[in-house]
């Protein structure tokens, strides 16, 4: 009880600063830029609040399952994939022709496999995934801020090398919706997700004799109190992320993504330092070239990322969790730097992170999302072993 009461001590100064920043940026985007940028920024704020209050992390969920067979986090992710698929498939399959909704399609090849594997290792070493790094950095965790900086460096390096990786064997994008039809594809996907859900549940029951439930209850704390100050039950996180992913699809016309912006920020910084990223193949044409030569505020992914960081900052302040005390030793510095580089480089090769490639890809029927999930999880297993080898975690029993 004391812990809950302590968490509800809102940190007023950062809460006010975050609220003011969110208001000013929203008004600025609305006044300065046309279209839906300000709405997408607000959706980003909502995503940041949801991620922070529900403590919805992909890397922690995978690690707990790999180490201890605690499958609650993994099952929550599977539920998120299933609900988002149910919401996305009919829209992308043009059940409602008036709604423009595109899939997160990408090639199914070596680049995705290697990229997701590296990303999986980076998740465990760096301490967060794409969304996790953003919201924990917004929370004021200094080690995650370092991970984020090197995430940007890695993503920028990835854009320099991507053309070579794409020359390796692979197939073009494969869409379940285009190949099977939206409802047939959805049905098949739901069957596979159900089997996965049952498998991880069974593995947990086999190891521990019982299954850790995915929490949905408000408990003794009032609903409003819990909504504002957190912490949220995991189910709220699943529903919140699914609804806000749908909002992103409807407003932007494509699924939520995070890491494209990191490469863009890195390329812009490199350009400001005298480099010539525009001469790299990746930045020389199409949307990357356009975004490199435009204001960062015109890039939807960047604007949403800013929203996630500020939303997490606000939520952390309201929960009294902003800038927690931490130990930042040499080992943690090393893993933050290495993990960040692997996350960034892997995300670029893998056509996104756990959000853009895995959630967005799978929920919109792209086969690369499934390949990303398998390769990323294998990388996660390697990352968990590395954490043990580095003495960060105790050995497996």
């Amino acid at each position: 009880m004391n812990q809950v009461a302590e968490q509800r001590q809102a940190d007023l100064f950062p809460a006010l600063m975050a609220s003011a920043a969110i208001l000013v940026i929203s008004l600025f985007l609305r006044g300065e830029l046309a279209g839906r940028q300000y709405l997408l920024f607000i959706v980003g704020v909502g995503l940041g609040i949801t991620l922070l209050h529900a403590a919805f992390g992909f890397s922690g969920g995978w690690r707990r399952f790999i180490r201890d067979r605690d499958s609650a986090g993994v099952r929550a992710q599977i539920l998120l994939l299933a609900i988002t698929s149910i919401l996305f498939f009919p829209l992308i399959g043009e059940l409602f022709p008036a709604i423009q909704a595109g899939a997160a399609l990408a090639p199914v090849g070596t680049a995705v496999m290697v990229g997701a594997f590296l990303f999986g290792i980076g998740m465990q070493l760096g301490g967060g995934c794409g969304s996790g790094t953003l919201y924990t950095a917004g929370q004021g965790q200094v080690d995650m801020l370092i991970t984020l900086v090197f995430f940007v460096v890695g993503a920028t390096l990835g854009t320099a090398h991507l053309h070579w990786w794409l020359s390796l064997p692979g197939y073009d994008s494969i869409s379940l919706i285009e190949n099977l039809g939206w409802w047939q594809g959805l049905l098949m996907q739901l069957v596979v997700l159900s089997l996965l859900y049952l498998l991880v549940r069974r593995m947990e029951a086999g190891r521990k004799g019982s299954v850790h439930a995915i929490d949905w209850r408000v408990g003794s704390t009032g609903f409003t109190e819990r909504l504002v100050h957190g912490p949220w039950p995991l189910w709220w996180g699943v529903l919140g992320l699914a609804i806000l992913s749908l909002a992103t699809l409807l407003l932007a016309g494509y699924p939520w993504s995070i890491t494209y912006a990191f490469g863009l920020w890195g390329a812009k910084i490199w350009g400001a330092l005298g480099g010539e990223p525009a001469s790299w193949s990746y930045w020389s044409s199409g949307y990357p070239n356009l975004s490199l030569n435009s204001s960062v505020l015109l890039d939807t992914t960047s604007v949403m990322d800013f929203g996630v960081i500020l939303g997490a900052l606000l939520a952390a302040a309201l929960a009294g969790k902003f800038a927690p005390a931490s130990r930042l030793g040499g080992k943690r510095l090393l893993t933050a730097v290495t993990g960040g580089l692997l996350l960034g480089y892997g995300a670029r090769l893998g056509f996104g992170c756990n959000i853009g490639a895995m959630l967005g890809g799978i929920a919109s029927g792209s086969l690369h999302g499934w390949l990303w999930m398998v390769a990323g999880f294998c990388g996660g297993i390697a990352g968990v072993r590395m954490r043990i080898w580095l003495g960060i975690d105790r050995p497996l029993r």
Binding site: A106, Y287, A323
Partner: protein, 74 residues
Amino acid sequence: MKRKQGRIIMGTAISAAAIAVMIDHTRQRLPEGKNQVATQAAVIIIDEGEELPAATTGCEESAPKGRRQAPCSL
């Protein structure tokens, strides 16, 4: 690391990021007219061999025909 140090680092990082965004925004030319805001939808949702879906974004001249040539936006 103490909480106060973390707050100072965070405050500095956010301030630096805000300044960088402002510099970038003022350095880059905004598209003329409010309706010409570049949206990723123009480029992200393309499949091999398909034409760009939006013709008003200014992307169509230089944009590749497929993600393999210029993978982006995820």
